[in-house]
Structures are given as C-alpha cells and as structure tokens.
C-alpha cells in the first residue's frame, strides 16, 4: 500500500510497453495490408486496457495511447482497397474477438466507419454500439469505452442538417443515443462509489471526481445537437437527464439549456416535478458548501429559473394551482439557500405566486393550501425574523389567498416565530404590514362560521395577538405612538369577542409609552402637540371606551384605574379625576354582580389611596364616593371589609400624605358597627354567631393605625376591642373557629412582641393591657 503509486507507475509503464509492442506488429500488418494480422494485433494491443490495476488518471494515459493507435487502425479500416473487405463484413469480423473490451473498441471503431459509409442508417449502428457496450460493466473500463464511443460518434449523429440524417425522428435517435450512453456512463460512475472497502472510499471519491469530465462530455454533445428543438428537448431529454444521479454542477452549468425549453413542453410532461426536482437538487447543492455559491451567481441561476417557471406556468394553463405553487416553493427554497441576502428575489417569487393565485378563485385544494403555507413559512424559517418577511410586499398578498383556517394558522406561525426569536417590531410600517398579515386573527373574516370556532383555540389565538402587541416596541416615542395608533386601528375592528384580549395589551403598551415619555421628560423641549401625555390619555380613553361595546366593565374599570395611576404619575389631576369618574360610573352603571363589586371596590380604594395628585376637593369627592359604595355592598361582611379598607383613604403614610385620624377612626368604628350587625344577623338567622374574624381584622387595622401614630386610636380602644373579641369567642352561640382563634392568637402575639421591643414602640404598646 505504501508504494502504491510506485507500483502504479510500474504497471502503467508495463501497459504502455505492451501497447507499443503490439502496436508495432499491428503497424507491420497495416503496412502489409494484412487485415487478419491487423485485427489480431490490435485486439492484443487493446487487451492492455483490460487492466484493473490503474487509477483513472493512469488509466487515462494508457487509454490515450491506445486511442492514438486506434486512429491509425481506423484509417486502415476506412480504405477497403487495402484490405478488400466490405465494411459490413468488417463490422462482423471485429466481433469475432474473444475478449469483450478489445472487441468493443474495435466495434466502435468500425462502427464509425460503417456510419460514414452510409451503408446502414446511422441510428441503427449507433443503437447497436450503445447496446453492445453494456457488456462492459466495470466502471472505469466501461466509462472509458463509452467515452470512446461518444468521442468517435460525436460527428456522426443523425442530427438535423447532418449528412447522417435519416427519415423520421432522426434527431430523436441522436438524442436517444447520447442520452443512453450518458445514462449508462452515469450508472457506472455512480457505481464506483460503492466499490471497495470503506477505507478507500475517499480515494474512490477522488477517482470519481477525476472521471466526472468523462461523463459530462455527453452533455456537451447533447447541447450541440442542433436538431433538438425545445419541445422535444424538454419532453424527452430533460426528464431523462434529470433522472440521472450526476453532479449538480452539471445541472448548474447547463441550466440555460435545460430551462430554455421548459415552457413549450406538452402539458402531459410532468415539468413541474422535473423543475422542482431540479431546484431542490440545486438548493441542496448550494447548501452543501459555500464554495459553490459563486457558481450560481455566475450563471444567474435565479433569474433563469424564475423566468422558466413563469413561462411554464403561463404556457400550461391547465396546470393545477398546486403544481404552480409547488414550483414557487421550490424556487423560493432555492433562492433562500442560494441568495439568502437577496430579499428582492424572495419577494419576486411571492409576487409571481400572487399573480398566479389571483387568476384563480379562492383556493380550495388543500394540497395547494399546504404548499402556500410552505411557501410562506420558508422565509420565516430561513431568516428567523419576521422583520425580514415584513419587508416583502407580496407576503400579505399571498396570505390573502389562503382560506380562513389556514390563514389563521399561518398568522399563528408568524406570531410564534416572533415570540420564539424574541424579535422586536420597531417601525410603524412594519407593524402595519404585520397586522395586515395576521388580520385573520384580528378580525372576523367574511363568511367565517363563528359557531364553529373552538373556544380554546380562539383564546389561544387572541392571547397570542395580545402577546404580540407587547413585541412591538420602539424607543422613539413618536414612532411608538404611531405603532400604537396602528395597532389600535387594527384591533378596534376585532369585534366584542377579541377586544378584551387586545385592549389590555394595547393599554399597557400605551402606558409604557407614557412612562417612557416621563423618563425623557427633560429632553422634550417644545415638543409638538401630538406627543403630550394628554394626547396619549385621550387615546387611552378612547381605547378603553371601546370595551363598552363588549361589554366588559370589570376590565374597563381596571384599565381606567391603571390609567388614573399613570395620570397620577404624570401629575395631571384632571385626567386622573376623569379616569376615576369613568371607573366609578362603570361601577355604578355596569357592575351589578356583588362579587365583582367587592373586587372593584377594593381596586378602586387601593388605587385611590395611592393617588397624590388630587386636590382636597377632588379627593374628598372621590373618597366620599368610595366609602359610600363600600357601605352599600350587599353582604355585611363585604361592607365591613370595604369600610375598614376605606380607612386607608384618610391615612397615607407619605411625607405629605393626608393623615386624617378622625375620619380613620370613624371608618373603623363604622366597620365595627357593621361587624356587630353581622354578628347579630347571624344569631337571628342561624342561631349561631357570625364570623369573629371580622373583629380580629378590624383589630389589626386598629393596631396598624395605632402603630402609625394615629392619635385617635388609643390603647384603651384596642384593649376594649380585644375584650370584645374574647367575649364574643367565649359566648355559647359562637361556633368554634380555629382560623379566627389562630388569627387572634397571632395578633396578640404581635402586640406582645412589640411590647418587648422596648423603645418608643415598646412604650407605646405598653399601655395596652392584655
């Protein structure tokens, strides 16, 4: 193995010597016009080619020697005055050789003369030759033999205009011949790769690549057959060529020829498959290595393919939509692989597809639909970035042609892609396009059967949209505002079912913009009117108002409160007040459910408590309202809790927060009263005590305010309350309530703890006697 090359040199030298030796005798026979001897020695000479020891490269050297000798032999054969045998007889005579390889070389040689003599139709001789060559199945020897056949027959094909032109279908014969030879060579070539043990695989591959040229020559011959008109070429040649497993670069380089005639194919020819297969292969080829990409550019593969497809589709009117779209998918895949940077190509493909789709009614073929989805998904997968896809103007137009379900599906795919890649859509234009794309999710499409909607699917879709809204972001407030406006425009038409999902996202998005504005406040000098917080608040009001159509008062209420808080942050009192008003109005008019009322009350109280923007008057009005609502709740327990919560409205622990101890106490006392009433009502109604825990809760409030320094809350009041609770607990009518017991116990423990702390706090708590 080590001196393999050396050995090879030796074998090659031996082979050449053998050829020279036999050729010498052959020459002598030729000179003396001795046909029999000439045949004998030429066969012997050619037997040197039977070696299996040489690599293709070395074998080629040997072959060339023999080739030169064969040319001399050919001259001799041609001149029948020298040997006196007719070419027909000669054709038989050479077939007497016992060894196949010499026999076939001789046969090919005589065959070429036979054709020239025109004693038999060229096509028959060629057919015979190409058939007989099947006898050589050894890849290297077979390849060279067939290459010899190709070589000597090249100028003798029954091409149109050639002197060997036959009657009918003559070009067809020429093409058939070349193709068949080519097919067989490919088979041999492919077979090489499966030969030999694994360790020499690499070597094999190298050898194979050395032989590529040999195989490829056929394509050149093919392209030189003038009589091949487009129709025939595509109808027969291309499908057969494409069947072959042969190097992709051949396809690439002959692309023009290959594509030239596609459109003129008969509809019966499955040109679609042919082309898709071609493109798929080319894409794979392109993907295989970056080194080959320049080749694609060089041959302008894309534009050629694109043109070809366009023409094919144009020409084949009856082609089903799915076929056309499949073609486009292939082309798209191709361009994505080959020219990932050329978005215009992608757009062009989509545009062409739109054009095709617009000629046909709404797609109903599910296969076609699948293809369209594939078409649309491909760029997403490739770029992992919807932003890129958004620049494709034809993208939404393609989506328009999907049916409703598929459209939604596609929209979901898009959204998921955005989520997955965490891509941020940052310009209004893109947002516009994006919403155009996903409009299947945004609004009801005409003719959609609402009943059929699956509730869960719908929720998921809408949640996705809501999530999507959060992905739209720009640091530039103005742009952000524009984005919000666009989103609003789109979502507002979504109808009552969608609004609850989208509006909150939108509101929070707008609120984020507000905070953003605040953050930059210092920079904004002489800002245009459009960008004031007021403007945004107006927008927010409008957005939230849209919920009234749903109706979804609870949600609207929460959003109003959020906005109020934001207005508080922006220090705009009247706006905040307005939002509260809206919230309260909603509470009064729309929220009838008692549970919802409880929740709403607590929300309102909580929000109101944090407000610091209000002047005394406004605040009074609002707190008054809030306490009023609290006292009018249905259940006593709810009333009680709401009322004691209201106590916080009068006590804000901030630096300059309101600290109205008196009214705090009023609230707490009122709460106590209500708790009492509840207790009594329970006694009357059920013969057992009501919830003691209410008292404990109130006690906690007492302790809280006591601790915070509310002078109105005294230790004796707390002490009194504790006693009250203890009494309540021990009364016969009270049911044992472990939760309340524990609650009380830990409250008392807290007091004890504070006592022991010592210091100011300790002193304060000391006064409470337990």
């Amino acid at each position: 193995m080590l001196n393999g090359t050396e050995d090879e040199e030796k074998w090659l030298a031996e082979g050449i010597a053998g050829i020279q030796h036999k050729a010498f005798y052959m020459h002598r026979a030729l000179d003396s016009n001795n046909l029999r001897e000439a045949l004998k020695y030429s066969a012997q000479m050619l037997s040197e080619l039977r070696t299996s020891k040489l690599s293709p490269r070395k074998y080629y050297e040997l072959y060339m020697r023999a080739f030169d000798e064969l040319k001399r032999l050919e001259l001799f054969f041609k001149d029948d005055s020298k040997h006196g045998v007719s070419v027909v007889d000669l054709y038989e005579l050479v077939q007497h050789a016992g060894n196949i390889l010499p026999r076939l070389y001789l046969l090919c040689t005589v065959g070429s003369i036979y054709i020239k003599s025109k004693e038999a139709p060229a096509k028959e001789v060629l057919k015979d030759l190409v058939e007989m060559c099947r006898g050589v199945q050894h890849p290297i020897r077979g390849l060279f033999l067939r290459s010899y056949l190709a070589q000597i027959s090249r100028d003798k094909l029954p091409d149109i205009g050639s002197e060997y032109e036959g009657d009918a279908d003559t070009v067809m014969d020429a093409v058939d011949f070349v193709l068949q030879n080519f097919t067989e060579m490919n088979k041999l070539w492919v077979r090489m790769q499966h030969q030999g043990p694994g360790r020499v695989r690499e070597k094999r591959e190298k050898e194979r690549s050395e032989l590529q040229d040999l195989v490829g020559k056929n394509l050149h011959v093919l392209s030189q057959i003038e009589g091949v008109d487009l129709e025939m070429y595509k109808e027969t040649v291309l499908p057969r060529v494409l069947e072959q497993v042969f190097p992709d670069e051949y396809h690439l380089q002959t692309l023009e020829t290959l594509l030239g005639a596609c459109p003129q194919l008969q509809p019966t020819v499955d040109v679609k498959t042919v082309l898709s297969r071609l493109m798929d292969r080319l894409s794979n080829y392109a993907a295989s290595s970056a080194d080959v990409l320049p080749e694609f550019l060089q041959v302008e593969a894309f534009s050629k393919l694109s043109n070809a497809i366009g023409k094919v589709i144009e020409a084949q009117v009856d082609m089903p939509a799915v076929g056309a779209i499949t073609l486009y998918v292939s082309l798209l895949t191709f361009t994505l692989r080959v020219h990932p940077d050329r978005l215009d190509h992608v757009d062009q493909v989509l545009g062409a597809c739109v054009k095709k789709l617009s000629n046909i009614p709404k797609l109903e073929d599910s296969r076609a639909m699948k293809q369209v989805v594939a078409l649309l998904s491909a760029p997403l997968e490739k770029y992992n970035d919807i932003v890129t896809a958004l620049t494709l103007s034809n993208y939404p137009r393609v989506m328009d042609h999907l049916d409703i379900g598929t459209n939604k599906l596609m929209a979901m795919v898009i959204i998921q892609s955005i989520m997955k890649n965490n891509s941020c859509i940052s310009t209004a234009d893109k947002v516009e396009v994006l919403f155009e794309l996903i409009k299947g999710l945004i609004k009801d499409t005409d003719g959609a059967d609402v009943d059929e909607l699956d509730e869960e699917d719908f929720k998921e879709e809408q949640n996705s949209v809501a999530r999507l809204i959060h992905m739209l972001y720009n640091d530039e407030p103005e742009e952000m505002l524009r984005i919000i406006c666009i989103v609003r425009k789109h979502t507002m038409v979504g109808g009552p079912k969608r609004l609850p999902f989208t509006v909150s996202s939108l509101v929070f998005s707008a609120l984020r913009l507000l905070r953003q504005l605040q953050g930059q406040e210092g920079d904004i000098v002489g800002e245009e009117a459009s960008m004031t917080p007021n403007k945004i608040f107006q927008l927010l009001t409008q957005i939230i108002e849209s919920l009234s159509a749903v109706p979804s008062p609870e949600l609207a209420l929460r959003l109003y409160l959020q906005c109020a808080e934001a207005a508080n942050g922006c220090d705009i009192e009247h706006v905040a007040y307005e939002f509260f008003t809206q919230a309260f109005v909603l509470y009064e008019e729309e929220i009838a459910d008692s549970k919802a009322q409880v929740t709403a009350i607590h929300l309102m109280i909580g929000t109101l408590q944090r407000m610091n923007v209000f002047g005394v008057e406004n605040r009074d009005t609002l707190t008054h309202k809030a306490t009023g609502y609290s006292a009018r709740l249905l259940k006593k327990a709810d009333q009680c809790r709401a009322v004691y919560a209201c106590s916080h409205l009068f006590w804000v622990n901030d630096q300059d927060g309101i600290k109205d101890g008196e009214r705090v106490l009023l609230c707490l006392k009122r709460a106590l009263r209500i708790a009492n009433a509840a207790q009594q009502m329970a006694n009357v109604a059920r013969g057992s005590g009501g919830p003691v825990s209410l008292f404990v809760e109130i006690l906690n409030k007492y302790i809280y305010f006591f601790e915070k320094g509310n002078k109105q809350i005294t230790s004796s009041a707390i002490q009194g309350l504790i006693e009250l609770i203890n009494t309540e607990m021990q009364s016969d009518s009270t049911n044992p309530d472990s939760v309340a017991d524990a609650f009380l116990a830990s409250t008392l423990r807290y007091i004890q703890f504070q006592k022991q702390k010592g210091g100011v706090v300790g002193e304060k708590f000391e006064s409470i006697k337990l």
Binding site: G98, N99, H138
Partner: protein
C-alpha cells in the same frame, strides 16, 4: 504388407481423377499425418464418376488378377486403431485379370451414392469416404491407391426452432435469466441473446459464453466421452448490478464447428453445448450448460 511395399518403388502409378474435377469444389482436409490436402466435396445422392489411369513404370508390365475400384465409407475409432467399420462399400470391377503394358485408363461411375453421414474428424473418431483402387496381384502383393473425398450434407432450416430461455440461480446469491434466440443454429449463424440479472449478491468478475463439443464414441461400457471447448467468448467484463441486461452476439463462423451428429451408425455422437460461465472475484465459476443443435445450411 502395404507398409513393406512402400519401401520399394511401386510398380505403377495409379491416378484417380474425377470427371468434374475442374468444377467441383475442393475443400481442405486434414490427413492422418496432419497435412492439409485439398479434396473434392460431395454430398449424398451425387454421382461419383471419373477415370482411373494405371501407368506401369517404364518398360515394366504388370500382371494382375483384376482391377477394381471401391467406394468406402469408414468409421475409424482411434482407441481401436486399425479397425475400420465400413458402413458403405460399393465396388466396380474395372478389368479382368491380365497384363498391363502401357498406360491404361478405366472410367468408373457410382451413381446416386447414398452417403448419409458427413466426413468427420474428431478427437477419438474419424469418419471418412474414400475411393480405393486395387490392382490385385498374385505375388508381390496388390497395388492399392486411395483417393479421399469429403462429404457434406445440407439441411433445410428447421421448421421448429424455439428460443432457449431459462431462469437459473443460487438462492439469495445470484439469479439470472438468459435467452438464446434459437435452439438450432447453422454453422455460420449468429447467436443472439441476452442475460438479465435479477439478483446479484456476488461480485462477478466476468462472464463468458463457451461453445463446447461433446464427442462420445463407443457404446455401453466402452463409451468414451471427449469434451472440447471450441469457443470462449467474453460477454461481460466487470460486475453488473441488479436489473442490468447484457447482450449476447456470438458469430459462429470463426469456429470450426461441424453439424451435430447423433448416434452415427451406433458408433459415435457429436453434440454441441452453450455454456454460460460467470466467474466471481474469488474465481469461483457458476455455469449453466444448454445443448444446441448445429446443422449445415446450404450456401445460397
């Protein structure tokens, strides 16, 4: 006796000439000593006629007990040397006993001679036709001269000539289907056919088609069988894959074939076989042999 006579100069020259010698086709024939001679060619039912001239050496007279010419068809078995089986024997008396002083010419004719068998020269057996002229003498032994001639008989194309088609194989290893276009070929025929590979699990190196001649002589326990491979014709070089079909085109003319002879006079048979041989890379041979019939077709 003849041997002894050969040591001396014969007393006379005997010349046998055929009446149509000028026009009759001459074909080469290998003599016992290996020399090729040209002999006239006949076929069954022909008239064999000519002249025999006897010319004594100068001044000598030949005293004889009669002159005759015989037409003999003989089968000679080499392992049974010296024994001739005459299956045909015709005699013409040319002269009554007397003396020959000078050259004397006798015409002779055997008309429509039945010669059912062809001249054949094989490994162990020879079938020949000969004219034998005998000048009988009382002393010094008879003077004998031989003239060989060849007989070939022609057959019309057979009315039934089926192709030979067969699928053979070794389980899970090799399955092939082969076809020869006919089962009966004439001597200048071409064997056309193909081999179709249905399954190939062995690494085939090459494939040959052989023409084998099987000559059996004698009968019963004494049968001698001799098989020769007359042609070894490579059909395929390299290893085919499944689905490959390899063409066969074998011209028979270059080979020295004879027609098939079946049980000639209960003495011998000559049969021909096509043997398809596949050789794998370990030089194992896989083969299948099929008999073909060879006949002589009249040249047109």
């Amino acid at each position: 006796m003849n041997f002894l006579l050969g040591a001396f100069k014969p007393a006379c020259n005997i010349l046998i000439t055929f009446s149509d010698a000028k026009t009759r086709k001459q074909v080469p024939m290998k003599k016992e000593n290996g020399q090729m001679v040209m002999v006239p060619l006949f076929q069954s039912q022909e008239n064999i006629a000519g002249k025999i001239s006897i010319e004594p050496l100068q001044g000598k007279k030949i005293e004889h007990n009669g002159v005759k010419v015989e037409l003999l068809g003989q089968i000679e078995m080499y392992f049974d040397r010296g024994n001739f089986y005459d299956f045909t024997s015709l005699v013409r008396e040319l002269d009554v006993p007397g003396d020959i002083y000078e050259r004397k010419t006798y015409p002779f004719e055997f008309s429509t001679v039945e010669m059912p068998y062809e001249t054949y020269s094989g490994v162990n057996v020879r079938l020949r036709y000969v004219l034998k002229v005998t000048v009988s003498r009382n002393y010094g032994g008879s003077i004998v001269e031989y003239q060989d001639f060849m007989v070939r008989n022609y057959s019309p194309p057979p009315s039934i000539n089926n192709s030979i088609k067969m699928e053979v194989g070794i389980e899970d290893c090799l399955h092939i289907e082969f076809e020869y276009n006919k089962s009966k070929y004439h001597l200048k025929d071409v064997i056309i056919g193909k081999i179709y590979f249905l399954l190939v699990r062995i690494k085939i190196k090459n494939m040959d088609l052989e023409i084998r001649r099987r000559e059996s002589t004698g009968s019963g326990a004494n049968t001698h069988v001799e098989t020769e491979t007359l042609a070894k014709y490579e059909l395929m070089d390299g290893a085919p894959v499944r689905g490959e079909s390899i063409p066969i085109r074998l011209f028979l003319s270059p080979y020295e074939l004879t027609p098939t002879h079946r049980n000639i006079n209960n003495k011998f048979s000559v049969k021909y076989y096509l043997n398809l041989v596949l050789v794998d890379e370990e030089d194992r041979r896989y083969f299948k042999q099929q008999e073909i019939t060879i006949y002589r077709l009249q040249d047109s």
